[in-house]
């Protein structure tokens, strides 16, 4: 098994505690407040200085903090965190794919998954709370993630991702989130018409 060294810095710690908080909350089968303390630990590691940095880890951490806040019935806090996550993600170019990255299919794949997870969470939240739809639509050039099982280890994953790209077919392995990503596309056509008088043709599924 390959061991990837732990990155330095508060962003990783923030992610660690965000994951722990969400895990503690969602897996609970009896009342507990362990998740509250874990989330406080995540927040304590978020300083204003982090806004002058950018990394995959930071985007992941903020996205998960946002999800936790939403589960804690704090929709406005959640909305704010998603905004931060989204801006930082575009700052590190998650909304684009560069041909120079072709040589690193695993990295590409991780970036794609992060972008589309953020999309699904944020758009779902926007629709649920009837906020103006402001998730970027134009200027985004990111393929959907490959239909590859997460449990596949590092090197076979590289091969599979390359093969999937080349043959344009999906290996026969499930990817549970794919439908979840597509639903916001379809819902987008409905909700704006329901929520405004803008004509339907302005919102077509990509």
């Amino acid at each position: 098994m390959e061991i990837i060294p732990r990155p330095n810095g508060n962003a990783w710690q923030l992610l660690l505690y965000a994951v722990a908080a969400l895990g503690a909350w969602s897996a609970a089968t009896e009342r507990t407040d362990i998740d509250t303390s874990l989330f406080e630990a995540a927040k304590a590691r978020f300083s204003i200085d982090l806004l002058e940095t950018g990394s995959l880890v930071l985007v992941q951490g903020l996205t998960l903090m946002s999800n936790y806040a939403q589960m804690g019935n704090k929709p406005n806090s959640s909305y704010n965190y998603y905004g931060l996550a989204r801006r930082i993600s575009m700052g590190i170019g998650l909304h684009k794919e560069f041909s120079i990255w072709e040589s690193k299919p695993l990295v590409c794949e991780i970036r794609r998954r992060l972008w589309w997870c953020l999309y699904a969470f944020d758009v779902g939240s926007i629709i649920t709370f009837s906020r103006p739809f402001d998730f970027p639509q134009s200027g985004v050039e990111v393929q959907l993630p490959a239909n590859v099982h997460e449990s596949v280890s590092y090197f076979p994953l590289l091969k599979l991702v390359v093969v999937a790209k080349q043959t344009r077919t999906s290996p026969p392995l499930p990817l549970k989130c794919r439908s979840q990503w597509m639903k916001p596309h379809y819902t987008r056509t409905c909700v704006p018409s329901v929520c405004s008088t803008w004509p339907l043709h302005k919102y077509t599924p990509e």
Binding site: R31, K74, S179, K183, Y186, T189, P205
Partner: protein, 228 residues
Amino acid sequence: MISVPFLTAKEMVELDDVSINPWLAALPHYFQLHAHQPPRYRLCHATLHWRYRNFKILMFRPFLVRRIMPRSGLEHDENSSSEDLQSEEISFQRCLDAAKESVELISNFWFNNQQTMMASWYGLYFLFQASLIPMICLRNNPRSPMAADWRDQIQEAIRVIESMIQLNPTAHRCLRVVRSLSQAYISADEGADGPTRESLQDQLTNLYPMMWPTLGSEFATFDEVNVL
């Protein structure tokens, strides 16, 4: 839902057919409603299908409200075509079906799977909104031929919510609301007094924060936002 003018029933049914139903049909075979799920995918599969039905409820609820509250003044325009009337009937039915299926699916999931906080959060959120539908219907038409079915749905919802109280603090508040709305009508005898005498305006005012639970109702913690 918050726009003026609201879409007609015909437009809403078309949107459903053009946008939402193709999405459902395009779900991979392994994620269709009755496809067997390994344990790790069960909750996410379930919430997807609950969410789909919740959206149908939201889309068609205004037409159900219009139909079920006869003193609303929102009855059919005399100039409505038979096509409009047919669309309104379809909307009414789709809302009822979505609500009933939601109650069944959520109850079935809750009592046959691990009862985690995550399952409770989503289950309660969708179940509460779904249960409003038979409650609105029963309160305004306690002698309808469908009343028995509405009572069953409400009682099933209560059974699920009661079971969630130990784990999820919000369940207690939901249960209080459901009981207060449905108590007088839940027994077939008590409904004999007739429909609720609350005016349409009062009913809608009281229901509105429950229909949109995040908009300043008692369920939404207004997380330290200074509205000024």
